[in-house]
């Protein structure tokens, strides 16, 4: 019996052992066959520790793999300079895998050495220790009670934001000092507009869009710590003040349109004068008998003629100023009809085509400086006006004294280098115009009804009245009647000049009456009533043209000529030459009419006609 019991016990022990072995084998089998291994838990890591108010703090950790077995975690810490290890007092308040340190367990300005341990059936794994000081891990809660209202500042709305610190943070005792930051955006926008508010708990936002909905968020941060989360979004809608804006704009637009209309109307009313002001019209040649069309058909020469500073009556309605221009009278032969062009003609007369044996100065109208010459070359078909220059003109005058063609040779006596002086085509004739004496060639043809006589005393041709005109730098014409005659408007239909002047007196066109009557005033040397105008008549500055030299030299003579000399230009220069007595001063063509440039010119009134101003030397280029 005893033997049976012992045998049974031995069998039982053996079976147990076998079972354990089998279990172990099974276990090992599990491990090897299925591939699963149980191991120590993975190393946990402390992710972060935060304190919301610098009085408590919480630490969170991240578990690693658990090794197949249930794993428990524990947090241990020790304070600075103390070897006592404490375990986390609270694992639950802050959630899973966290440790909450309450106020009693929290010391500020003390280093905490914290470690998390993961333990499973096989063992424990320690995490890396973390040292923290609560002062530097403060991350408060977001600000609370964020309020937004719309206020008005002088009619313009603005947002006023206000908030409070999180209720757990003690700012009243100065334990924590928070600074705030807010961000604003319109509902439909994507980017926020950030504003730093400092320690204040209130903020204003201007420049709003009317009718828009704004979203606002606020956050806070202690001096040395982390920013809190953004508070919950507060939205506000700005009321429409667009009406007021729009009304202002409407008013602005209406008044602008009104002003624009007024300005347009004013411009339209004054378009004429504005045009004159902005684009002064080119005065046409104010020479009677010039054919504008004739000139227009001209070639380049006519172009130059346009530049001539001849006062041509404006084509527009003649006002007084326009007509205060000395007219160049041209003396035409009888058979040729003086065609009096309207005063407003521009341009130069066309070059005459007819013969001009009287004076071949016409052919000399090529000089650029003597633009007037060219002008005078171009004559209306019915009008022969001869341009002449000192040089060739003189020559021609010499050579062909006869002017049977009846051409009136006129030449400007003063030519500033016209290329240099732009032609002043302004048409105002003021009293102070310069007075230059010019040689006026007149047809000496006896057939010329308007034969001009240098002899001022003669009055054989009552019809002949000639005007001397001269040009000065200002390009004004001064007509001087050489004959004491009644101005008989032979074919000068447009101008009625009634003036009785002494021969060789200078007259000046003062004004023009309404019916195109030129009122002339005689200018006598005896009384100089034009001093105020700068007109000084002195006899010394005028001299006779004695002759024209061979090389375009105008020979003048000095001294006063008391006796009238027959200087029928048309006849020839010989008359001129004959007139000269004493000195002759060769004047080269290079001399500039300097005197004429000055405002004060002396006029030798009673001197014989046919004298040319010493200053009025015109230059004829030698490009003939």
């Amino acid at each position: 019996m005893d033997r049976i019991i012992a045998t049974a016990e031995a069998l039982w022990r053996m079976m147990r052992r076998i079972a354990e072995i089998l279990l172990l084998l099974h276990w090992f089998n599990l491990l090897s066959v299925e591939g699963t291994r149980y191991s120590l838990p993975g190393k946990p890591t402390l992710t972060r520790c935060r304190s919301p108010e610098k009085e408590t703090f919480t630490c969170w950790w991240e578990p690693s793999f658990d090794g197949g077995l249930s794993t428990t975690y524990a947090l241990y810490y020790c304070k600075e300079n103390s070897d006592t290890v404490h375990e986390c007092p609270d694992y639950h308040t802050a959630g899973v895998n966290s440790c909450f340190f309450n106020k009693n367990n929290t010391s500020i300005w003390v280093n905490y050495n914290i470690t998390v341990v993961a333990t499973n059936a096989l063992g424990s794994t320690f995490s890396d220790p973390v040292e923290i000081d609560v002062v530097y891990i403060v991350m408060p809660h977001p600000p609370e009670n964020v309020g937004v209202t719309v206020l008005e500042d002088k009619g313009w709305p603005f947002l006023r934001l206000s908030w409070e610190p999180p209720h757990k943070v003690d700012t009243r005792s100065g334990w924590i000092t928070l600074i705030y930051e807010l961000r604003v955006k319109l509902e439909e926008e994507t980017e926020w507009e950030m504003h730093l508010a400092g320690q204040q708990k209130m903020f204003n936002i201007f420049s709003l869009r009317s009718g828009g909905t704004y979203l606002v968020q606020v956050r806070c941060k202690p001096d040395h710590g982390f920013w809190s989360e953004w508070s919950s979004t507060t939205s506000i809608k700005v009321p429409d003040y667009f009406q007021r804006e729009r009304s202002v704009w409407v008013m602005i637009m209406v008044s602008s349109a009104f002003i624009f209309l007024i300005i347009t109307w004013l411009i339209h009313i004054n378009s004429h004068s504005l045009k004159h002001y902005i684009l002064p019209p080119v005065p046409g040649p104010k020479i009677k008998g010039f054919d504008k069309q004739f000139m227009k058909d001209g070639k380049s020469e006519g172009f130059f003629c346009d530049l001539v500073s001849i006062h041509f009556p404006a084509t527009t309605t003649p006002n007084d100023e326009d007509l205060l221009v000395e007219y160049l009278e041209v003396c035409v032969p009888e058979e040729q009809e003086l065609k009096m062009e309207d005063k407003g003609e521009d341009g130069c007369p066309k070059s005459e085509s007819s013969t001009s044996d009287c004076d071949s100065g016409r052919g000399s109208c090529d000089s650029q400086t003597l633009l007037i010459d060219k002008c005078f070359k171009r004559v209306a078909p019915g009008l022969d006006i001869e341009c002449s220059q000192t040089g060739t003109g003189a020559n021609e005058i010499q050579d062909s004294p006869d002017v049977s063609s009846g051409r009136v040779k006129t030449w400007p006596s003063v030519y500033s280098p016209l290329s240099q002086h732009p032609v002043d085509l302004m048409h105002s004739l003021d009293k102070s115009k310069q007075h230059c004496l010019s040689d006026t060639l007149f047809p000496s043809d006896s057939s010329c009804p308007y034969h001009s006589h240098p002899d001022h005393s003669t009055n054989d041709n009552p019809d002949s009245t000639y005007w001397k005109f001269c040009f000065n730098n200002k390009q004004r014409l001064l007509l001087r009647p050489q004959m004491e005659t009644q101005w008989q408007p032979h074919a000068y239909s447009e101008v009625n000049i009634s003036a009785t002047v002494r021969s060789s007196d200078y007259v000046e066109a003062h004004n023009i009456s309404d019916e195109n009557t030129v009122v002339l005033h005689s200018v006598s040397s005896s009384h100089d009533d034009r001093e105020g105008t700068g007109y000084k008549y002195q006899g010394e500055d005028y001299s006779h043209v004695q002759r024209v030299g061979s090389d375009n030299v105008l020979m003048l003579q000095r001294g006063l000529m008391k006796e009238p000399v027959d200087t029928g230009f048309c006849k020839n220069q010989q008359a001129n030459r004959a007139a000269g007595t004493s000195d002759t001063s060769p004047i080269t063509r290079n001399q500039k009419p300097t005197v004429c440039n000055e405002t004060t010119l002396s006029v030798n009134g009673p001197a014989a006609n046919g004298y040319v101003d010493t200053a009025t030397m015109f230059i004829k280029p030698t490009q003939d």
């Binding site: 610098k54 009085e55 300079n81 929290t106 300005w109 280093n111 700012t171 009243r172 334990w175």
Partner: protein, 206 residues
């Protein structure tokens, strides 16, 4: 007794006479204004110390050696400073003021030495500490004049006595410890000053 003690405390480094409102030619600064200036100064000091410490950790300690961290023993650890809000609020104004002055006085010499000896630290923080200390002293004088410092029971220990009882002479501290400890102590000073201000002149910014 109280007066002599406070006198010792307050006028140990008195350099300027107390300026009352009645004095001519003396621009009296309000207490609030004085507090603001002092707090600004301490904030700047803490900022500098924080930057120094961070720079040191970044460049001089590239490897976050565990041995290097922790175990900082500051020579000011003997100064009894409140380590929590309740402790700080429980402390009287005089106590707080004294703690502040003690801390500031404890750091004058080490920082001066640090500035002169170490090439890594170029900022002379000792002058900052000295200025702040003078400001706090002036503040204490003013408070005393205004009768705000009246508690006679606070254990006032002269700063000079404190300075001789450091457990760790500061000369034995290495650079890292000095930077670490100063950063912390400047934070303490800043915080204590804020608490003092909100307790005495709470109307602005508290």
């Amino acid at each position: 007794m109280n007066n002599s003690l406070t006198h010792v405390m307050l006028c140990s480094v008195c350099t300027a006479p107390v300026c009352t409102n009645a004095q001519v030619g003396c621009h009296a600064v309000s207490l609030n204004n004085l507090f603001d200036r002092i707090i600004q100064h301490s904030a700047k000091m803490h900022r500098v110390s924080n930057d120094l410490h961070q720079q040191f950790e970044l460049h001089v300690l590239p490897s976050r050696n565990q041995v290097g961290r922790g175990g900082h023993i500051c020579h000011t650890s003997t100064i009894m400073t409140p380590n929590g809000k309740e402790n700080a609020q429980r402390m009287a104004r005089e106590g707080l003021t004294q703690v502040i002055l003690q801390l500031l006085m404890a750091w004058t010499d080490p920082l001066m030495n640090l500035h002169h000896s170490s090439t890594n630290v170029s900022v002379d923080m000792s002058s900052m500490v000295g200025e702040l200390r003078r400001g706090v002293q002036r503040l204490a004088e003013k408070m005393h004049t205004l009768g705000l410092l009246t508690d006679p029971d606070s254990s006032v220990v002269s700063p000079e006595a404190l300075m001789t009882s450091h457990p760790v002479p500061w000369r034995l501290m290495n650079l890292y410890d000095i930077l670490y400890c100063f950063r912390r102590d400047s934070n303490k000073v800043h915080n204590y000053l804020r608490i003092l201000k909100c307790r005495i002149v709470p109307e602005h910014g508290c």
